[in-house]
């Protein structure tokens, strides 16, 4: 609230002079009227009187003007600070002026601008929050790059898919990314300024993604590049499982059927009369039909688990149970000269569905023997822990490649088709095992390396949940 002194003085003097001239003119006019042209009244005294009056009047005027000016200045400053608040984005109070004030309308407009800006910024923040959390929680991997190839933003799913922390803002994307195919795709977008699309297998997270890299022009000289990764691992898996299932089922069904058809045809065409051939062929037909029965039974047992997950609980001693169970395997074990070691302490009794557990362990032991080398080893371990018990079957046989560890529980899946076909089996064993273990609220884990061997472990809780198991199996 500072007014330049020189301005006040100047205004004061000009005021005083104007008033003085004005007064003098009036005075002269009055004198002429009264005295008729005599100028004798004009003297020093009159002059002094006139100037003093002029000065006082000017002072009064200046004072009044100053007050008005100050008021206006205050209002203007309030309005100005209001506007600068709006620019800075800090929150302030509304400016209230009397309706008679000359700035009243201006203040109203500023207040309206303020309210509008508040509203816009509020909805902007809401939108931005929503937008960022949408990106963050999206299951699609999103990474936005600016035109200097730096990461502008990247979401959680992206880090998961790539298998590394990707949300390093302001970093060159090539410094963070470790997948060449994706980086090449992005680089191509930078060069061609055209959207790119490819299916990429990510090694480090073992995922297959559908990658879209999009060129987003912002203005004439600015653009963004957006990489969108859509996880299609499961889709691919399902696609492949379906194909495999159809292929496997038809293959498994076809082999015995071809044999049966072929041999019965030969018999019908006259081989019936040769008793030796008749017996041999009938035997083959019988064997093949048994294989078919086995296959159908396996499929049925899969269907049955889905239908009836009831458990018949008995108390058993694990060690005795295993020893009993191993008895039928003796011929196979001695044929391959396999050394079996049971490392289960005496007196471990648990409550379990005997039939289901027998099926599970039978299958695992059979695999351990079947996929083992001559003179191999099989270790059976098991014990009771704090709130669970487990049995593990460990062999030093062929082993399972890392990628296929999860797949072996798929129906009809065979690790190495060329070798396992010779060994027989339907490819359903482990999937049935898994279903059974889950029906008993247990878990099955596998640890394996090719050429080293595999360990299958089944873990069951000591206390089975009392609630019906329908939910847990489904």
């Amino acid at each position: 609230m500072k007014v330049k002194r020189i301005r006040i003085i100047r205004t004061f003097f000009s005021d005083a002079i104007i008033i003085f001239i004005f007064l003098t003119v009036i005075f002269l006019l009055v004198i002429r009227q009264v005295r008729n042209g005599s100028v004798s009244a004009w003297g020093v005294e009159t002059f002094l009187l006139l100037s003093v009056t002029a000065i006082i009047l000017a002072a009064v005027d200046i004072f009044g003007r100053y007050l008005r000016f100050r008021k206006r200045k205050q209002n203007l400053e309030a309005l100005n600070s209001r506007l600068s608040n709006i620019i800075e984005g800090t929150k302030g109070k509304h400016v209230l002026l009397e309706p008679s004030d000359p700035y009243y309308e201006l203040s109203q407009s500023i207040n309206a601008v303020q309210s509008m800006k508040d509203m816009i910024s509020k909805s902007f923040v809401t939108q931005q929050r929503g937008y960022f959390s949408l990106i963050e929680y999206l299951t699609i991997g999103v990474m936005v790059l600016d035109q200097d190839r730096k990461i502008y933003l990247s979401n959680h799913a992206m880090s998961d898919l790539i298998g590394r922390e990707m949300n390093l803002k302001k970093q060159l994307y090539v410094n963070v990314l470790r997948t060449y195919e994706l980086s090449q795709l992005i680089e191509r977008v930078y060069q061609d300024r055209q959207d790119q699309h490819a299916e990429i297998k990510l090694d480090f997270s073992d995922k297959v993604v559908d990658a879209h890299v999009v060129y987003v022009p912002v203005s004439e000289h600015h653009f963004l590049v957006m990489a969108l990764l859509y996880d299609i691992t499961e889709l691919k898996e399902i696609e492949r499982m379906q194909m495999d299932f159809v292929g496997n089922v038809s293959h498994e069904l076809k082999t015995p059927i071809t044999a049966i058809t072929g041999f019965s045809e030969t018999l019908l065409q006259g081989a019936l009369k040769d008793p030796k051939a008749l017996k041999e062929f009938l035997n083959i037909i019988h064997q093949e039909s048994l294989k078919l029965t086995e296959l159908v039974e396996d499929i049925l047992s899969l269907a049955r688990i889905d239908a009836s997950p009831e458990l018949k609980l008995d108390e058993i001693d694990i060690r005795k149970f295993i020893i009993n169970l191993l008895r039928p395997f003796r011929p196979e074990i001695s044929k391959k000269d396999i050394h079996v070691e049971i490392q289960i302490p005496n007196g471990c009794t648990v409550q379990v569905d005997q039939n289901k557990l027998r099926h599970v362990i039978n299958n695992l032991v059979q695999n351990a023997i079947k996929y083992n080398n001559y003179k191999g080893n099989v270790w059976l371990k098991g014990t009771i822990k704090k709130d669970s018990w487990f049995i593990s079957v460990n062999d030093n046989g062929y082993g399972i490649p890392k990628d296929e560890k999860e797949r072996i529980f798929e129906r009809f899946y065979r690790v190495d088709t060329s070798r396992s076909r010779q060994n027989g089996g339907t490819g359903l064993g482990l999937s049935v095992v898994k279903e059974y273990v889950e029906a008993m609220s247990g878990k099955i884990t596998v640890d394996s390396q090719v050429g080293v061997g595999s360990t299958f472990t089944v873990i069951f809780p000591l206390e089975l949940p009392t609630a019906p198991l329908n939910e847990s199996t489904k």
């Binding site: 190839r149 060159l172 090539v174 410094n175 990314l177 470790r178 997948t179 060449y180 980086s183 090449q184 680089e187 090694d203 480090f204 030093n396 490649p401 890392k402 990628d403 390396q449 090719v450 050429g451 080293v452 061997g453």
Partner: protein, 224 residues
Amino acid sequence: MRKTFNNELSKMHVRFAEMGMMVHEAIFRAVKAFVDHDKALAHNVIVRDQAINECENELEKMTLEVIALYQPVTADLRDVITILKASSDIERIGDHAVSMCNATIRMKGSQRIAEIEVEIAKMGDYTCSMVEHVLDAYVNRNLERAYQIAKDDRFLDAELRKIRQRCMTVMQAAPASVFSGSYYISVATYLERIGDYVTNVCEWIVFLQLGEIVELNPSSKNNL
């Protein structure tokens, strides 16, 4: 002038990072192929090595051009020289990954030695993570990390000695395992060599930051 030089430099940097990615993938896949006895994957790595070699040639050409055209000095020169030298080291890592894959393909069907497969799998994973870390350390110019990684290389040396010793013992006992045993030793040697190249890259990181040419782990090269 400065701007075009920076452009060239960042172009080189992108190319180098891409090469790093390819090599990292190559070694990751080579180890995986070896552990899983996966011939197809091994073949894939061998085919892709061509791209790595081309990338190295391209980088070489780019660095020489930059030196000739812009005559960089001090830190810029170090940047360019480091890319030139480190890229050839990284390319050699790719070559070793290929050798490993060749061994994987040739070994298929021979008698395996379980305990050594486990050791080599461990060594392979370790080497792979070392390659990853050194690339990270390079892009972040992390000096301490570089020293640390160079130190980690000693683990690979120890592991190689252990594997060689065990292979010898097994081969002496069972002549049937000589074929695979000799391959195991060479694969372990490849992995150890990769470790040495990683150490070289670490040396270049030191050069980049301090401008000194140093030798990290000088003793590790004697026992080969």
